[in-house]
Symmetry: C2
Subunit: 272 residues, 2 copies
């Protein structure tokens, strides 16, 4: 999907909500465990109930890998379902991959071609030749970790690297890479006050913002600093939506939570 | 496997060779493509021919993920084969994972419990709470990326972070984490002259060293700076060994290459 198509969907749905499909068998409604593929059954219900309220879905691959072959199969079924039934939806493989050149190409093929995701999250530590192989793919986005929402972000990301912080250096250096227009960035909502600095460096890039909700980030704060002319934000919520209820009404409860966020987003877009 | 057991195997085999199982269907002998599972067939032959010369095997997960479900199945079969037939061998999932706390725990479960690897490579960018969940696992090692063998290492890793380079900061900060004794570090052989600095910070840790062979690193140079009293090195070679021949003699050719490296290692250990 192109950036323009994503923006079109955001305008149409009046939503820049991304729903994180981080499926933990210990947390889904117990009645689903009788299904042949409980993970996919859960995802399908969540997607069916929320796809008019969200513009993007983001499965975190860790949750699927933890269940081995069954988990990988559930991931394949989930992305196939999204691509077939809801092709207007933007898809993100939250994989945080990154390796040397030829190996990064293998990862890019895995997520963009084999699975058919629109985008994948990638770690910046190994530098240019670990990221550019992902950027080669046309109409696919590479979402680079810049400033993450966890406490460990202060260990290295916010430290001073030759006159800037490491994360601003990641933003600035990555702008010079080949096909940099295919980059987006992960910026945690728990650090909303930093988003102004981010926007000064990458005014036009989309930011994927986790940490609203369960982790305590504020939607209003993030939008205040992060919105740009093309909206430029994808706000992710995972647990707050998908685990809103453990009963048979889980999909309805998820839709209610998603609708609440979508309505706040609509107000913000209308005010903008 | 404990560090002591690994050292015992190194002394016994007079080898600190790790063989990278980076299987690309375009590069393996064409006659194997008729097998039901060509990737596993290739790995099994390589392992059978080299297990007395190598102390460790390191599949890079990217190569398996690129083939979807089939690839993941081949990875499962490979690690099961190693654990059942050659339990004395040390196993490394070269996955370069890393995510926030609860998600890192899912990855740790995937590699340590579900697949049964002895160790996994992890990226440091997200800091302490992204790595400590891996360190919780008893008798398992977490191999942190510090200084990688690719050109992109110069983008951030070797830059000055508050008076040190980023990679030395990663070494120093990670030493303070809970269960830090379960850490090993990736240090590229293409940067052998840096290994002295690394040893000054982590004198007792094992270093996993890629980049000897195809990428141009020198075994002698790496050993000069990197050996410690417990040997403390695992030298990885992938393409130079596993793709030594594209004929039906590929396993024998791989064994010859592995034997050549093992003999150099034996000389170095005897001289030490």
């Amino acid at each position: 999907m192109t950036t323009e198509q994503l923006v079109e969907q955001i305008r149409k749905k009046k939503s820049f909500l991304c729903i994180g499909l981080d499926v933990d068998l210990d947390k889904i409604p117990p009645h689903l465990l009788q299904e042949e593929d409980p993970i996919f059954a859960f995802n399908k219900s969540i997607i069916d109930a929320t796809h008019e309220l969200a513009v993007a879905y983001k499965p975190n691959t860790a949750f699927y890998e933890a269940y081995g072959l069954k988990g990988w199969k559930a991931l394949e079924k989930t992305i196939s379902y999204l691509n077939e039934k809801h092709p207007e939806v933007y898809t993100i493989a939250d994989a945080k991959r990154g390796d040397i050149g030829n190996t990064s190409t293998m990862y890019a093929k895995a997520f963009f071609e084999d699975l058919g995701f629109d985008s994948v999250t990638v770690a910046p530590y190994m530098g240019k030749d670990s990221v550019e192989p992902f950027l080669n793919f046309k109409d696919k986005h590479t979402i680079l970790l810049a400033l993450t929402s966890n406490l460990g972000a202060y260990d290295f990301q916010t430290k001073d690297l030759e006159g800037k912080t490491l994360y601003t250096s990641v933003l600035e250096v990555s702008k010079t890479w080949v096909n940099a227009e295919n980059l987006m960035y992960v910026i945690g909502a728990t650090k909303a006050s930093y988003i102004g600095d981010v926007r000064a460096i990458v005014p036009n890039s989309f930011l994927l913002v986790p940490g609203v909700g369960a982790q305590g980030g504020s939607l209003t704060e993030v939008c205040k600093y992060g919105l740009n002319e093309q909206v430029g934000l994808l706000i992710n919520s995972s647990r707050g939506i998908i685990y809103a209820s453990k009963g048979t009404d889980f999909a309805e409860a998820a839709a209610n939570q998603a609708a609440s966020l979508q309505q706040q987003m609509e107000s913000i877009l209308n005010a903008g």
